[in-house]
């Protein structure tokens, strides 16, 4: 059975990583073919494996057996006889856990990573980087080996994360993904803004990761107490309803806080408020990186984490309410920041944050209504494809123009038709227009949220925010498309305008097809738990509900508004020149100054404390150590004052001492003899 070989799925790209790191400089395309080949092979295997496990679930959403149903597991212990890490009674092993939810993401990740790897072959060129000798000649540095090595490591880690059978294993791969993100955001490390963006990404996600780590450590101990430390962090333990109930009874606060910790890790990784500040800056990396890591896969890892451990979250509903609220607020706020931005990649970055908020909303709604969970995951799948496509199209534009400021675009439809039309497909999808995929998942989500409102009024608020955000989304996405592809070209580089290489166009086309196809999964996924059993709002209900038409209307209004301001006739009037953004627009362009606040706080508090402790260390602690030495010195100096070298003084001392000695002896004699001793 193919599932026995599922471990190859992450192993192939990881092996490619090692090869490219060690030998890449000597290989053709600096190891690009090895990396891409391994990724494509792994992707094919992933899709096939996903297909095989698609129908593995036989129980319903909150099933009697307490699992998600059957899962296939395989661990190092099975294969090699020893586990990966044994420490005391704890055993943490690496392995594979395949069930319906894994399958959901596995297939998508496999296709996306394969596609983007192929796109990279055409997109990544040898780059000249920063350093200039005194005579002005640049040093030619070819970054391809680094790129393909990091890409392979990333894909291996992402697949390892999705397939992980142990929470610690998942954490390890989670972190490795973050490392690749850091390395690839800082791909052009000579550029100060890229280096700063990479640092920011690492540190902000590290803060989230530390909460994840705290949760992980706590779960290891409390589940270890319940069922024995040897299986404490295995997924089969953590997802077993009976075990969870036992732990919830014994350690309610610890369980709640650790689950919250897992969510906070997801907040960091998926760039939700308040840890969202790194993602817009992450656009400093190559666009393929933005597409793969920061749109399609890594940022989804946070969503997947919550989905994977949903039984745990379910046991502490207040965390799920938090998830829903954070998601909704993030979705709205991020959309407002996208509305005014002129950098095409940054608009897409804010859009990603916003859409991730939708997914978290869906999962949070799952506290009340099972369908919310399904809708959230459904949106994850759809979004992966159309967002990747949006970024790849943006990349194609950047490939031609070396510039991402939309004020210099315009009318590109004539010069780059493939890019334009595929991007339109993605834009329609993200705006929720049927028959594109985004319509199905977004409206499903809204419907489930509204339904959940009956359980808890909070979800009406969530629904309202989501609806408004849908309108904003349609507005800013079509604003983007109109500004870029319609009207007249406003820039200077007309001769370079063309669609990309065949690698790029092929991938664009395939992904565009997907934006149409994945939506219909809702009809055909009858074997998969998520849709057959979970959706409360069936497709039939969806088409007939008033809420669907309301959201379509809101989206349509958004598109219309975008047309009036940024359509070919009016666009020139509404472009604020560089540097002149003021007022509300200015605030939103500067992202509500959140980043500045973080910098000031870190500088004042953390660095302030650091400088204080450093001064304390040097002037108090070390000073007192030296003071002991100085004291000895002083004693010596004092003592040596008596060494005058004069015989008379020494004679005086001798005589005084003798006198004292005699007196003492006489007293002792009187004392002892007097007492008859």
């Amino acid at each position: 059975m193919v599932m026995e070989y599922a471990w190859l799925i992450p192993a192939l790209p990881l092996a490619a990583f090692v090869l490219v790191t060690l030998f890449g400089s000597r290989l053709p395309e600096r190891g690009g073919y090895i990396s891409a080949g391994a990724i494509v092979a792994s992707g094919a295997l992933a899709v096939y494996t996903a297909w095989e496990s698609w129908g593995r679930l036989t129980e319903s959403f909150r099933g009697e057996h307490g699992h998600w149903g059957e899962a296939f597991t395989w661990t190092f212990q099975d294969a090699l006889g020893t586990a990966w890490l044994e420490a005391g009674n704890f055993v943490f092993d690496l392995g594979v856990y395949l069930d319906s939810i894994t399958a959901w993401l596995l297939g998508a990740v496999g296709i996306l990573t394969a596609g983007i790897a192929l796109y990279s072959i055409g997109y990544i060129r040898p780059e000249k980087e920063g350093y200039h000798l005194d005579d002005g000649s640049p040093i030619h540095v070819d970054g391809r080996q680094r790129y393909y090595a990091a890409l392979a490591l990333f894909v291996g880690s992402m697949l390892g994360f999705v397939l992980g059978s142990n929470l610690l294993e998942m954490f390890v791969f989670w972190e490795l993904m973050g490392l690749c993100s850091y390395l690839l955001i800082g791909f052009w490390y000579a550029k100060p803004s890229a280096a700063a963006a990479a640092k920011k990404a690492f540190l902000v996600t590290r803060v989230g990761d530390v909460f994840f780590l705290g949760g992980l450590v706590t779960l290891a101990v409390i589940f270890g107490d319940a069922v024995g430390s040897a299986v404490a962090l295995d997924l089969s333990t953590l997802l077993d309803t009976a075990t969870i109930e036992a732990v919830a009874a014994a350690h309610p606060t610890a369980l709640g806080l650790s689950v919250l910790g897992l969510f906070l890790g997801a907040v960091g990784k998926s760039a939700q408020l308040p840890l969202h500040v790194w993602l817009p800056d992450a656009m400093e990396g190559p666009t393929t990186v933005s597409a793969l890591i920061h749109a399609a896969t890594m940022v989804k890892a946070g969503v997947f984490l919550v989905a994977r451990f949903f039984p745990l979250f379910d046991a502490v509903p207040w965390v799920l309410y938090t998830v829903a609220v954070v998601g909704a607020v993030t979705a709205f706020v991020a959309a407002t920041m996208a509305v005014v931005n002129y950098d095409i990649k940054r608009v897409l970055a804010f859009s990603t944050i916003s859409q991730l908020g939708y997914m978290f909303m869906g999962l949070g709604v799952g506290a009340a209504v099972a369908g919310g969970f399904a809708a959230g995951l459904f949106h994850l799948l759809n979004h992966a494809f159309f967002k990747a496509l949006l970024f790849l199209c943006a990349g194609a534009v950047g490939f031609a123009l070396h510039n991402y400021d939309m004020r210099d675009f315009g009318g590109l439809k004539e010069y780059m038709p493939i890019t334009a039309w595929t991007m339109l497909a993605a834009t329609l999808a993200i705006s929720g227009i049927p028959p594109f995929s985004g319509f199905f998942s977004k409206d499903e989500l809204l419907a489930e949220a509204f339904l959940a409102g009956k359980e808890h009024a909070l979800f009406y608020g969530v629904w309202a925010l989501a609806l408004v955000t849908a309108g904003l989304t349609a507005y800013y996405m079509f604003r983007l498309w109109f500004m870029t592809f319609l009207g007249d070209y406003r820039g200077d580089h007309e001769e370079e305008l063309a669609d990309g290489t065949w690698h790029m166009n092929l991938v664009l086309g395939v992904f565009a097809v997907f934006t149409l196809v994945t939506g219909f999964a809702v009809f055909f996924a009858s074997d998969n738990l998520l849709f057959h059993h979970a959706l409360e709002v069936t497709p039939a209900k969806l088409v007939t509900s008033w809420k669907t038409y309301l959201s379509l209307g809101v989206a349509g209004a958004g598109i219309a508004l975008a047309w009036t301001r940024y359509g070919p006739d009016n666009v020139e009037d509404h472009l604020t020149p560089v540097g002149e953004e003021t007022g509300a627009e200015g605030v939103m362009i500067d992202r509500y100054y959140v980043t500045e606040a973080y910098y000031k706080a870190t500088d004042a508090i953390v660095l302030g404390l650091a400088r204080l402790f450093d001064a304390f260390d040097t002037h108090v602690v070390d000073w007192s150590v030296d003071a002991i030495g100085r004291f000895n010195d002083w004693m010596g100096r004092v003592g040596s004052r008596w060494q005058t070298g004069r015989v008379s003084d020494y004679a005086t001392w001798i005589l005084s001492g003798l006198l004292a000695f005699v007196v003492i002896v006489v007293y002792i004699l009187r004392y002892t003899i007097g007492r008859g001793i």
Binding site: T82, A83, W84, L85, E86, A87, G88, N89, F90, E129, G130, Y131, L133, D134, I139, V141, L168, F171, V172, E175, L176, L179, G186, Y189, A190, K191, P192, A194, A195, A196, A198, K199, F202, L203, R206, V207, V210, L213, G214, V217, T218, A220, V221, G224, V606, L607, L609, A610, R611, F613, D614, D617, V621, D622, V625, G629
Partner: protein
Amino acid sequence: MTVPWLSIAIFTPLVGAVLTMLAGRRQIGRVVSLIASVVPLGIGAGVLARTPGIDDFVLKESIAWVSTDSLTITYTMALDGLSAPLFALTALLVAAAILFSWEETKRPLSFFALLLVLETSVLGVFAALDLFVFYVFWEFVLIPMFFLIAIWGGAHRRYAATKFFVYTFLASLVMLLGFMGMYFGLPDGVPATFNFLELQQYTAGFSVELQILLFVALLVGFAVKMPVVPVHTWLPWAHVEAPTAGSVLLAGVLLKMGAYGLIRFAIGAFPFAAVKLAPLLLVIGIVSILYAALVCLAQNDLKRMVAFSSISHMGVAMLGIATLNEIGFMGAIYMLIAHGLLSPLAFMMCGSIQHGWGTREIDKLGGIMQKTPTMGTFTMAAFIGSLGFPGFAGFIAEIAVLVGTYQAFGWIVIFPLLGVVLTAGYYIWAIQRALHGELTAEHADSAHEMPFYETAAVGVLTFFAIVYGVWPALLTEHINPFVEGLLSTVGVI
């Protein structure tokens, strides 16, 4: 007639030192010293390669050395799950240090010979099971280290070497008093001896006050060596002023001697006192982690930053020891090995940067990755590994200590978690300021890449740091039986 492999391993470097001094020319001397340093590595690796893991003492040798009416000292040496990895690590680091200093021009033969003498002393420390012999080797370590710092060191080398020597020596005297207390505290009728294996059977029966007193005496000596806050201030001086090979060995093994002694002798002999004083160790550990991490953030000299991070990591080890549970202890011991690979790696990179760019100060560097990518990459690897990132050995240690901390102390785990963030902060910030960005470093035109011997030394350490991060079972199979044995003694109380 069994071959005394252990003593051969311990004293070969000493013989090598003599031969090196006689070699006459640097080219011969350095090869001789490299060979001599690798012999114990072969023996140590052979011990580690055995499966299943070491669960008892191996390569044991015991000879009665002094047996008079008033004094009984035996020469008892052996390796077990705790000391075997440290033994092999020592040999590896000395070999790497010799390799890194391949082109040393200032009195090279003396330099290599001193490194070898140091190797013998440290190997003896890890193998000794008689308190007197342990003490002799322990103190003897100070001598070659003093000369290495005082002659081949930086601008303030005299001050740093003297401070290092006197500070640790004083602390060791307190430790010696503790040893003597153990010797004289034996109950009447039991033959007095310094042999730890025999002493250990009786020390748990000492009166409570005596146990605590002696534990504290031993703790003083070991705490200063580790070092932990507040007795740490000798370390930044010693590390910064020492030559790279000196810093490598100082950070890699000398610091571990303190933790080793604490685990084997202090806790091994006085488990009751250990349980009573665990809260003290907890506080010391946490303060070390956070205090040192904050001070790191304020540093401008890369080497001084790495020095303080050593203090922070030994705080993690102390924390693991304080948990007194199996996973925490395993993490503490694993940290000794992991830090023993990653910290020397970081110091080597500081040395490379100094050689290549002429300075170690962050505000005088900037963008050096552009001209010296290999150096930059290894520095990134060293720093990222040191911050406990998965894939490197440090992660295994940290996760184990964290789980152990929660298991033993609950919510207190927040503090080491804060340390994790701070550690990432200073390392990543340093990478950004020194390696990335525009090339603002001074003397960029005369900067040069790492020579092959530096790359070789650094590559070896990186390799092992990754191997033990990716396949921890290689070490845990030796450490776990030791921890189980030790903690069953503690559990008995």
